[in-house]
């Protein structure tokens, strides 16, 4: 017997056979042993032409160059800041990548970023040993002030953003909140108290029901019609669903 054993969007557990024979190729979270392709994580089956992959439904965030994340300053060194990324690894933000301004040698770095501050940063480089370099120079990268921070599973981030940012734009419009979603699963929201509350509940809903279809409509219904907020700041979101 050859061909696909599992249907598209089936939930599979590690070790389940996805396809038999050499007609298919193993993609993300899968592996081949002899003529069978097996799942390597709990997730949804996804078939793209001849490639079978698993869209993980849980799991840790793997830092990747180019990702926008929200980190927390945990230490200050001679040349920059040590940032906690919500993974097993800490990252470095060098002074020259943090600000456009010229910093004198004897200047107090806590004036720029203090321990405990949250920052929206971009990963510039990740080594095989998970040494992570960050930058805060770029559009939409800044120190976080005000608003609230929430944590979701990093694997659900593409769902929260939606196709071409459709989901996040919907939430922004209906709640009037400014929202930044970090690829590491940290979400920062700022708006009115009710708007923030509603957006938080909506994002939690997406996280819980991410495996279901027609989620954008459901969330749209939950949030109701657009209230009379002033137009939210729309920042382009990367890393949404393909």
């Amino acid at each position: 017997m050859t061909g696909l054993v599992q249907q598209e969007r089936n939930v599979v557990v590690p070790g389940e056979v996805l396809a038999e024979g050499m007609d298919y190729l193993p993609g993300d979270n899968t592996y081949r042993e002899q003529d069978k392709i097996y799942a390597k994580a709990l997730g949804l089956v996804n078939v793209n032409n001849r490639v079978v992959k698993i869209t993980s439904l849980a799991g840790p965030y793997l830092p990747r160059a180019g990702d926008k994340i929200i980190g927390k300053v945990v230490d200050i060194t001679m040349s920059g800041w040590r940032i906690e990324t919500g993974t097993a690894y800490q990252a470095m933000l060098m002074v020259r990548d943090a600000t456009m301004r010229f910093i004198r040698k004897e200047e107090d770095l806590t004036k720029i970023l203090d321990i405990g501050d949250y920052v929206v940063v971009k990963i510039t480089n990740v080594t095989s040993q998970m040494l992570i370099d960050l930058t805060m120079k770029g559009p939409g990268l800044h120190k976080v002030s005000g608003g609230r921070l929430m944590k979701i599973n990093a694997q659900k981030v593409p769902r929260v953003i939606g196709k071409q940012g459709s989901m996040i734009t919907l939430i922004k419009e209906r709640t009037g909140c400014q929202i930044t979603v970090g690829q590491n699963g940290r979400v920062w929201l700022r708006g009115t108290a009710e708007g923030e509350m509603k957006a938080t509940v909506a994002i939690k809903m997406i996280e819980e029901q991410s495996h279901l279809e027609g989620l954008t409509d459901k969330i749209g219904k939950f949030l109701g019609e657009a209230p009379k907020f002033e137009k939210p700041v729309t920042t382009p979101q990367e890393g949404g669903e393909q």
Binding site: V11, V13, P14, G15, E16, N29, Y31, Y38, K40, A41, L42, G43, S56, L57, A58, G59, P60, L62, T87, A88, Y89, Q90, S128, Q129, M130, Q155, H211, L212
Partner: protein
Amino acid sequence: MAYTKRLDGRKNNELRPMEAKTGVVKNADGSASFKIGKTWAIAAVYGPRDLNPRFLQNPKKGILRCNYGMMPFSGSGDRIRPGRSRRAQEIAMVMTKSLEPVVDLSAFPNSVVDVYVDLPQTDAGTRCAAISAASMALADAGIPMKDMICSVSVGQVQETVLADLTYNEEAHEAPVSDIPIAMVHNTGELSLLQMDGEISREDLMKALALGKEACEQVYKVQVAALKEKFKK
């Protein structure tokens, strides 16, 4: 006299009723509860996370660290001293060794995945229940795994080969052997094989064949529980 009828009326190859659930510990990255008869294990997985002290770190891959504990009130009435005992340490070690063949942490160098298993109630077969629960919790946490591990105990009481012994059977006044096994599901390889007591070569082979069948039943319960959360 041969042991022809089991104390709780089960067939020789019959397991105690099983019940499994995932996501029972909300704080953890992944969790599971696994009950088999009166034995009940709860597993919680944290990580991959920063590993200290640093000399434990492996720069090639993350490490798996298991913890096993019977709760103070879990036994037959005598308080069980919590914390690491010689027995708990041994079981934690065999759990780690039995899960390691399937867990792939090569993407997380220098980190650790912690698995904590505690048993609120015990009636023999605790390390097997612990391993079955831990395997589910790891899958629930989204840790890359090649396969699931299912575990059950088999044994022999007075020349009768049995699956899933209870405490009363283990403590039976007769030649008794108790063999906990853990199986890598797809390949059928054993990643845990221990024994208390003695058994003849033929009976051991019989017991292992019985054990593999029993593991298959455990696997079905595990898979059903993992998928339950995502029902439409």
